[in-house]
């Protein structure tokens, strides 16, 4: 008859502990504004108000400073690793209105390209999916979004969406390379026809979706729900399902999850994840797109997960094993 283990609940999560595997002392002289690991999780890049970007080798719990990248003339807001198929490439953006793309060659990091086409602070950089080649989206307080495409031979092609967000653009995030409606009627034998899409958030309280059509960037959708500046947007990675998901967070303390089941990508529905007491600065999706990390002005990090019935629940303080995440401030307190 039916084997016994099958009676066990399928969605029982592993009970292993969430554990701190590394604590990196960056020695930045001023506050850190972003920290990000590369594709393999072997290196950590941090950026700070001290105008530097630092890269650490964090393999096996180590923290070896690999590079101290100087070149920005203002606080550096964000960094982004490119896909390793293009080499070791890191982009950084700063208050000094510049975007710098750094590349490691023969063990040394150097400026590969410096983009100075923005007229105000550049707040966000994000590399597109590797399927599109080396393409970087940059959002700036001058309201524009720039798309830098590497065309080979040290050349970068620049496309600029002027006035993408009135007053300023605060965040950009690429959609995964999936064919809209790919799951239906895709003629076999043809290479999938990927459409470049990304999402942006700005000071006009809007979340906007952009799509490339015939080489031109067009506003595809405008999502309204926030009542203050949108501080971050995150397009969830795809695991092959036909649903697109976007998270957005705002100065108003709200985090919205936007979903679209419509293959044409026209109908987006918003679901309020939570209203926080302070500004929410950042949202980040796990690789499988089912857990969202939310962080903001309250110096705390919470993890959220969608249950089987479609409700979002905070999982970072529900069970013993995971409590480490919720009390990040405490953790740090103990360490210092």
């Amino acid at each position: 008859m039916f084997p016994k283990p099958m009676k066990q609940c399928l969605h029982g999560l592993a009970t292993a502990m969430v554990s701190v595997i590394n604590t990196v002392d960056t020695s930045h002289e001023d506050m850190i504004h972003d920290a990000q690991m590369d594709y393999y999780g072997t290196r950590l890049a941090t950026c700070s108000s001290d105008r530097t970007v630092k890269i650490f080798d964090v393999r096996n719990g180590g923290q070896i400073l690999v590079a101290d990248l100087r070149g920005h003339e203002g606080p550096v807001w964000q960094v982004a690793w490119a896909h390793p198929m293009f080499g070791n490439i890191l982009a950084s953006c700063s208050y000094d209105r510049k975007v710098v793309i750094w590349k490691e060659e023969n063990g040394t990091w150097d400026k590969m390209y410096e983009y100075t086409g923005h007229e105000s602070s550049v707040n966000s950089v994000c590399w597109g999916p590797y399927e599109f080649g080396l393409i970087l989206a940059c959002g700036s307080s001058d309201g524009a979004i720039s798309l830098l495409t590497f065309t080979g031979d040290q050349q970068w092609d620049v496309k600029k969406i002027s006035n993408a967000h009135t007053i300023g653009c605060n965040a950009v995030s690429w959609a995964p390379a999936v064919v809209p409606g790919s799951l239906i009627n895709q003629p076999s034998g043809q290479k999938p026809n990927y459409v470049k899409r990304f999402v942006s958030g700005g000071c006009d309280n809007l979340v906007k979706l952009w799509k490339e059509e015939d080489g031109q960037w067009k506003e595809d959708q405008k999502l309204e729900a926030h009542s203050d500046w949108v501080r971050d947007v995150g397009w969830a990675p795809s695991i092959g399902l036909p649903t697109s998901t976007i998270a957005s967070c705002s100065q108003d303390g709200r985090v919205f999850i936007w979903t679209c089941d419509d293959p044409a990508g026209n109908t987006w529905t918003a679901k309020l994840l939570h209203k926080f007491n302070d500004v929410v600065w950042h949202v980040s999706w796990s690789i499988t797109g089912n857990i969202l990390a939310v962080s903001g002005g309250d110096n705390k990090v919470t993890l959220w997960k969608e249950s089987m019935d479609g409700q979002w629940a905070c999982i970072s303080d529900v069970s013993k094993g995971q409590s480490a995440v919720s009390t990040i401030a405490d953790t740090q307190q103990n360490e210092q």
Binding site: S141, G168, L303
Partner: protein, 942 residues
């Protein structure tokens, strides 16, 4: 500051004294002229005529005092009284040594004859207050005045109306200068970041424009031809250098006079000495030093020839020859240090602050009254109305903070009033401690308080309160320049993140937070501010001018050597969090703690392993196997592997159980299906109605387990299942299909055709299983395509086929496929995503294993490609497998076996086959092996 026409004296104006500097002997202590006034000196200018070289005029509020300087001492001998409000500018005529023009915000421009000082000889009436007045240098009758963004050109003989009216700028004009050689041309410098050159005969269109990216305080022609010197608005405190431009090429400055440690307040050309080819530029800076710069002929030539190559050379000469003079003035006997500093700080008078303050904030109106040293701030926020009277003490901004008083009709609650008053007091005190102006920071602080309050109240009007950009479009591009807080002044740059978390790699959460030692100044109930401009209220410390990116590279290079930046002065976001700590110490009475002890500003970055929260497991990635020759073994091993990480996934166990049945491949669709009747005993609490084992006929409802795993985002299991039960099912495949999934809407279309033969599925759902289906979320019998079919349909419906056996076999092939083929692409996506994750884990072999099962189309072929018509279905195909019928597309003409590997065929008749067979055949034959009569060897070459 003004330099006399002989080039021997420069006068510096302070509140209590006028200082006379001997330019011939700049190291001598300056002489002083005491003055009795509570007003600062506005403008001071020497009479430019040699005969009257000892006379200079100094404006003080509504009055102009005429001083004479003889034999080392000076005195005010005459006062010109007439203006009713503060005098903004004065200018001596170049032609008549007795004529002095004055402009005032009272909208009048007066021309005085110093021989008759009782009243002005000419009064020119403009509707708007004037900021500048300048005599034409070629035409003795003409003079120009600036009014906000407009320029009026007057003829003193026709005082009733202006000769010409030029709408020069969109923002306030700070500087106006006539060309020294051309009577029609003048230059205007403005808050809108530009210098424009005009011929007043063509008032509609400027001759040329110089875009500076920052508001320009003064732009003056050089005494040598084609030159122009600009300084930036000193209140911005961003740029300590003077720039020399060639009017012939305004793209980049030809030289930067670098050296002052603070902003330049005033500059003037020293009249050329006889026989000297050099010119000298005298500059006065807020750093309390006066510098004299030599401009040698080489540099002068640059303005003409514009050869950038010469620039470095010219510059080095100039810098070497520059004279440096410190005018650290002697102790002021009565006022003390600070008085003196403020007095000679010149740019910080209340009138100037009022005239320069940028308060273009939505919903806010500020009425400024310099006469009474007060201003009224009125603001409307939603239902709230605020009237705030700010009074500036006489000492302001010299360590004397203004007072703030709410007046009716203010509607905010009194608790809020107290709170705001406290904040404003703190803000203003912060500023005046450093002799800085505080009106604008205070107003912005007020606005942000009101705004945050509105946000908290969540009133409907709380939406787009925006610290809006200046109205002028040209300023929009450079919003930074509109405030007076140095670098952190930006109303539309978001407040930086000081903590954050990001998922990285596959199973890591990287987060950084503020160090525990840092606290927010604001109470935790207040939300973190929205934009960087909020920082100005908190920041303490001298601002460092940001380097301007917009500067051309050549000047940047010059600046890089200038000692204008020191790390100590750098203002940071940390100031926002910093203050709390100080005040805390204060509270705990631990004063005397070394404030200079380095405080750790950067927290640690923590990497946390969170892979246990994810539905995918690296250990499973390593231990899962894909052995297609023994599916049962694969399933069992995978089940065991899953168990080791604590997952009791039914799927693998079930699949293993299913495969444990020893079933021989059977191609007859009519064969009884023992597993179809297998009572699975599925329990509803599993939420899955898994695995109807169907070997043949009953067409598969889609996997419920897939639906389940996709809800869990378990791409690992999804991909593995899709790979094990891949599209090309082995002959003894099993069908762990369950009920229909709403997530896969696409499968219906394909199934309609199958459903004709699908009737026997209902035979599986007797007894136990029937109840199971009904407890399931969506009984699959009810899905449209299945519901239509019945056993009868099957039994009789298919008799219409000409060859039912063949048709059945075909369908049987289709049905053998474990997973809905319509979703193949989706399954491929699962595999690709999982492959990507495996790649990140460094499990490249496993990745290759999984990706082997994707049905992704071959890479686009580059070059010539032979199209093939499938020998079975005649559809066009690429490669050896037909995309439509999935069979191998062509047969060998000799052995009649399908060709998979190397093949050759005739381009003429299209016949061919295995390369080895063809080689053998044509070794001896010339005609086609298919017997078509084609002489293949002659027609084409293999």
């Amino acid at each position: 500051m003004s330099v006399d026409c002989l080039g021997t004296h420069a006068v510096l104006s302070g509140r209590h004294f006028l200082y006379m500097v001997n330019l011939e002997a700049p190291s001598e202590p300056p002489r002083k002229i005491a003055r009795q006034s509570k007003w600062d000196v506005g403008t001071v200018q020497w009479n430019p005529h040699r005969s009257e070289a000892h006379v200079f005029a100094a404006s003080s509020n509504q009055r102009v005092d005429l001083y004479s300087w003889r034999d080392g001492c000076g005195e005010a001998h005459t006062s010109l009284l007439g203006h009713t409000r503060v005098i903004s500018d004065l200018d001596w005529s170049c032609f008549d040594s007795e004529l002095l023009a004055t402009s005032s915000v009272d909208t009048y421009i007066y021309i005085w004859d110093t021989r008759d000082t009782r009243k002005p000889t000419v009064a020119l009436s403009a509707v708007a207050g004037a900021s500048q007045v300048k005599w034409n240098r070629k035409n003795q009758h003409l003079l120009a005045s600036s009014h906000d963004g407009d320029v009026r050109v007057w003829d003193k003989r026709k005082p009733s109306t202006a000769v010409e009216y030029v709408a020069a700028h969109l923002s306030k004009i700070h500087g106006l200068d006539w060309h020294s050689d051309n009577e029609y041309i003048f230059a205007t410098s403005s808050q809108d970041n530009s210098v424009r050159f005009w011929d007043y005969r063509q008032p509609r269109k400027y001759l040329n424009i110089l875009s500076c990216q920052v508001p320009v305080w003064k732009a003056r022609y050089t005494p040598f031809s084609n030159g122009l010197v600009t300084i930036m608005v000193p209140q911005l405190r961003r740029e300590n250098s003077l720039l020399l431009w060639s009017t012939l090429d305004l793209n980049s400055p030809v030289h930067a006079f670098v050296g002052h440690d603070d902003v330049v307040l005033e500059f003037q050309w020293r009249p050329q000495k006889e026989g000297s080819k050099d010119f000298q530029l005298v500059t006065w800076s807020r750093d309390q030093t006066m510098r004299i710069w030599r401009v040698d002929p080489q540099l002068q030539k640059l303005c003409v020839s514009d050869m950038v190559e010469d620039l470095m050379e010219g510059m080095s000469l100039t810098v070497e020859s520059e004279k440096f003079m410190s005018s650290q003035e002697p102790e002021n006997p009565d006022g003390g240090h600070q008085d003196l500093a403020a007095g000679s700080g010149l740019a910080q008078t209340l009138q100037q602050e009022f005239s320069l303050v940028n308060l273009q904030i939505r919903n806010v109106n500020v009425e400024m009254d310099a006469m009474n040293r007060s201003c009224v701030v009125s603001a409307h926020f939603g239902s709230h109305q605020v009237h705030l009277v700010v009074k500036f003490p006489a000492q302001y901004p010299n360590n004397a903070a203004p007072t703030f008083q709410f007046t009716p009709p203010t509607t905010i609650p009194s608790a809020m009033k107290t709170k705001i008053q406290k904040i404003l007091r703190d803000t203003s005190f912060q500023k005046v401690k450093r002799n800085q102006n505080c009106l604008e920071p205070c107003v912005r602080q007020l606005v942000s308080c009101l705004e945050s309050d509105m946000t908290q109240e969540d009133s409907p009007a709380s939406g787009p309160f925006v610290l809006s950009n200046p109205v002028t479009p040209s300023l929009q591009a450079f919003p930074r320049v509109t405030n007076t807080y140095g670098s952190y002044q930006d109303a539309n740059i978001p407040f930086p993140r000081t903590s954050g978390a990001r998922f990285c790699g596959t199973g890591c959460l990287v987060y950084f937070t503020r160090p525990i030692t840092m606290h927010r100044c604001a109470p935790p109930t207040e939300p973190t501010p929205r934009s960087l401009s909020a920082l100005s209220a908190y920041h303490s410390g001298v601002l460092t001018p940001m380097k301007m990116r917009s500067e051309p590279p050549s000047t940047l290079r010059l600046y890089s050597g200038s000692p204008t930046r020191s790390d100590k002065d750098t203002v940071s976001i940390s100031s926002f969090y910093y203050k709390e700590r100080k005040s805390r110490r204060f509270k705990t009475k631990r004063e005397g703690v070394d404030y200079n002890r380095p405080i750790k500003l950067a927290g640690k970055v923590i990497i946390q392993e969170i892979s246990c929260l994810l539905p995918v497991h690296k250990t499973l990635g390593e231990s899962y196997i894909l052995n297609m020759s023994d599916i049962q073994e694969t399933c069992q091993q995978n089940a065991a592997a899953a168990l080791t990480v604590g997952r009791r996934d039914v799927v693998w166990a079930l699949a293993a159980a299913a495969t444990s049945q020893d079933l021989n491949p059977d191609f007859d669709p009519d064969t009884e299906t023992p597993w179809a009747r297998h009572p699975f005993g599925l329990t509803p609490d599993l939420c899955v109605c898994v695995c109807v084992y169907v070997r043949t006929d009953p067409p598969p409802p889609p996997l419920p387990s897939l639906d389940h795993y996709s809800q869990m985002s378990d791409v690992q299991t999804l991909a593995m299942l899709c790979s094990v039960f891949r599209s090309q099912a082995p002959p003894d495949s099993y069908f762990p299909y369950g009920h229909h999934s709403s997530r896969f809407p696409s499968h219906h279309s394909r199934y309609v055709s199958h459903s004709v033969t699908s009737g026997s599925c209902s035979s599986t759902s007797d007894s136990t299983t029937t109840s199971t289906w009904n407890t399931g979320e969506t009984p699959w019998q009810h899905t449209a395509p299945w519901g239509e079919s019945s056993p009868d349909d099957y039994r009789y419906g298919n008799q219409g086929y000409t060859d039912p056996r063949e048709r059945e076999r075909e369908l049987h092939d289709m049905n053998k496929r474990l997973l809905d083929p319509a979703n193949t692409l989706q399954f491929d996506d699962f595999k690709k995503c999982y492959g990507e994750i495996l790649y990140r884990w460094g499990l490249r072999d496993k990745r290759a294993d999984v990706l082997k099962f994707t049905s992704s189309p071959p890479e686009a072929h580059k070059g010539i490609e032979f199209g093939v018509y499938c020998c079975h279905c005649r559809s066009q195909a690429r490669g050896t497998q037909c995309a439509v019928c999935k069979r191998l597309t062509f047969q060998c003409a000799i052995c009649h076996v399908a060709v998979r590997g190397s093949s050759n065929f005739c381009l003429s008749c299209g016949h061919g086959g295995h390369t080895s067979h063809m080689m053998d055949w044509f070794w001896r034959q010339e005609e086609c092996p298919a017997g078509c009569g084609c002489h293949c060897l002659l027609q084409s070459t293999f």
